[in-house]
Amino acid sequence: MEALIELGQFILQNLINALQRGSFYAVISIGYSMVYGVLMLFNFAHGDIFMVATYIGFGIATLFLALFTGFLPGPLIFLATVVVTMFLASWVGVFVEVAGYRPLRSAPRASAAITGLMIGIIFETGILILLGAKRLNFPPLMESISYNVGGIYFTNVKVMIIIISLLLMVALHTFIQKTKWGMAMRAMSYDFLAVPLMGVSINIIAPLTFAVGAGLAAVAGILYGQAYPILDPYMGVILGWKAFVAAILGGRGSIKGAALAGYLIGFIEIFVATIFPSTLRDLIAYSIILLILTFRPRGFFGMEHSTKLRL
């Protein structure tokens, strides 16, 4: 009995760990998935947009903490940081679309994919030149309090990360399903040649999609800064790749799918590292994903016509 309780605690503890990790993959992968859905291209710069957004968040958080501490309540500073960072980061997304992808819209898809990689490298080295290689410490926007409930440890930050991520995804889902702009995005992802003829401008929808993706990445960045407060210019690369895998696994343009796949990758990673040596973690995790894709080549919720993709 004792052993059983202990095992239960152990599993629950890892479940919470996995939920936190999975939240990041899920929120970032939605950015990939949306662009992939609307424009049928992989925005490989998204991981680095996340990185830039985190640095913007770092700047805003430091500024606001210096200006408003003791003057505004902590949660309000947090909220203000999130809103301002989201706003600024969406312009980074718009910039990437307008400067990087728009000139290549009629070029072969491979050119656009390479552009994404290059924009990513420009961002990484840009930050490196601007701020130097020094690691930055993301300031805590709320005091981390550790709780112990029945032998399971979690912090308020962890709970907040999980809840905010879920709220974001629900909000985005509502936006896509219920608003006119969302409808335009869905229409565009259905056929991006015919829809512009109906008076929906791709030059508005495409930057909007990038802006929403970057805005999400900004929230993810601030939350990431709370959970793993060491920032470096290459932090977006691996996270970006994993989120990209989640987007593919979720199915083209599917928010639900990307979120689900993001959490799944988080779970597989944490539990594989628990049972096997960590060297096998990525091997096992991605073998499982490969297996899933073999049987469901379009991912969990991929639409039939996504075979049109020409990469």
Partner: protein, 391 residues
């Protein structure tokens, strides 16, 4: 237009042939290569190496050059960034040896880069002194490769003994990066030393992760569950804050002990209060230093605004060693291969060299015999001398 282009090309060609660098090759400048991580995972380490080297160069320039056999030679530093990557460190060494004609190389700092880069230096018969690499493989069977610090087979037992004496614990956990030479080697040595003291199975959790991981929750959950009393984690300053924080969040109550890789000035700055009161083994402790060590610390602090970490101090010592060896070699012939071998021979003969990180005498393997110190991070976030341990 075409003519103009031609003219430009010809002008460039002339400029290249008759540029000062082409001349200087004949004037015999002593070039010292610095192979350090200026960018990448641990840029603070590269910065410390560079600053220490610049202070050394300042001294040389003040003296009007490096005097060898009654003649003064101009000294030039060639600083190459190894991006904290093994392959870049190899490339940097190859470039410095074959293109820049350096007489000796200082660096790379971490074993991950020093082990493969040492191979290159030895192959080209060029003296390489790694100030900070503690993995035995760096100098093993490489007559041209030296180091400025103690080795992991010494450091591991020092830490194991310290924990046993200080806390009387019998169950330890280890968390280390399996993809990096230094943490992996030291984790193995520590495990062996601990189990020798407390019996097989006394390392109750032996968990690994991979470079660039930021989430250690599954490993730490297992460590907490294992009932270990102390956690040993020989990681670098970019990982230590995350490990310490996540461990505390997951209910870890015991002490966390580190190794000399914690010694960077950045560890405490990034980690903050959660790291106060923790211990690590190191090469020197800045707080409370005396004599030449203090002079170096003060000078460095005046110039660069922060207290030098162990890497800076070891780099300083390595440069002094190189200087001593070059001077002991007696003369610079200008034939680089011959000079390099002469420097190597001189270096092996150095006895009781008084460095700011302790006295050094080289073993035939190119490793110095020197003491280790246990440093405590005090409540002001300073590195305080706690006790020392000599071989």
């Amino acid at each position: 237009m075409k003519k103009l282009a031609c003219l430009v090309v010809v002008a460039f060609a002339f400029a290249m042939v008759f540029s000062p660098s082409a001349f200087s090759a004949r004037k015999t400048i002593i070039k010292i290569g610095i192979n350090a991580p200026m960018t990448g995972d641990i840029p603070k380490v590269g910065e410390g190496s560079k600053y220490a080297a610049l202070l050394w160069l300042e001294d040389i320039e003040k003296a009007g050059g490096l005097e060898v056999g009654g003649k003064k030679f101009e000294v030039e530093l060639v600083i190459e960034d190894n991006e904290s990557k093994a392959e870049s460190a190899v490339k940097a060494n190859t470039k410095m040896i074959t293109q820049d004609d350096v007489l000796a190389i200082i660096g790379p700092q971490s074993s991950k880069q020093a082990v493969p880069a040492g191979e290159v230096a030895n192959k080209y018969k060029t003296v390489m002194i790694s100030p900070w690499s503690t993995n035995p493989a760096t100098t093993l069977d490489r007559p041209y490769v030296f180091r400025g610090c103690f080795l992991d087979p010494f450091q591991g037992p020092v830490v194991a003994n310290f924990i046993t004496d200080e806390f009387a614990f019998t169950k330890a956990a280890v968390l280390y990066d399996v993809a990096s030479d230094y943490p992996k080697g030291l984790a193995e040595v520590f495990k062996a030393a601990w189990e020798k003291k407390h019996g097989a199975g006394s390392v109750v959790a032996y968990q690994s992760f991979t470079t660039k991981d930021t989430d250690f929750s599954s490993q730490l959950t297992q460590i907490v569950k294992s009932g270990a009393e102390v956690l040993f984690t020989p990681q670098y300053y970019n990982e230590v804050p995350l490990i310490v924080r996540q461990a505390k969040e997951l209910g870890w109550k015991g002490p966390i002990v580190g190794s000399d890789s914690w010694g960077s000035a950045e560890t405490v700055e990034l980690c903050g209060e959660p790291c106060y009161g923790l211990y690590f083994s190191s090469h020197y402790a800045a707080a409370g230093a005396k004599g030449a060590t203090k002079a170096f610390i003060d000078r460095y602090t005046d110039n660069y605004g922060y207290i030098p970490d162990d890497v800076a101090a070891l780099t300083w010592d390595a440069l002094q060693l190189a200087q001593q060896a070059i001077q002991d070699a007696g003369k610079i012939t200008g034939k680089i291969e011959k000079d390099r071998t002469a420097v190597k021979d001189a270096l092996t003969k150095i006895k009781n060299f008084a460095g700011i990180t302790g006295n050094m005498t080289f073993t035939p393997e190119g490793d110095p015999i020197k003491c280790a110190v246990i440093v405590k991070i005090n409540d002001n976030g300073e590195y305080e001398f706690y006790k020392s341990s000599c071989p």
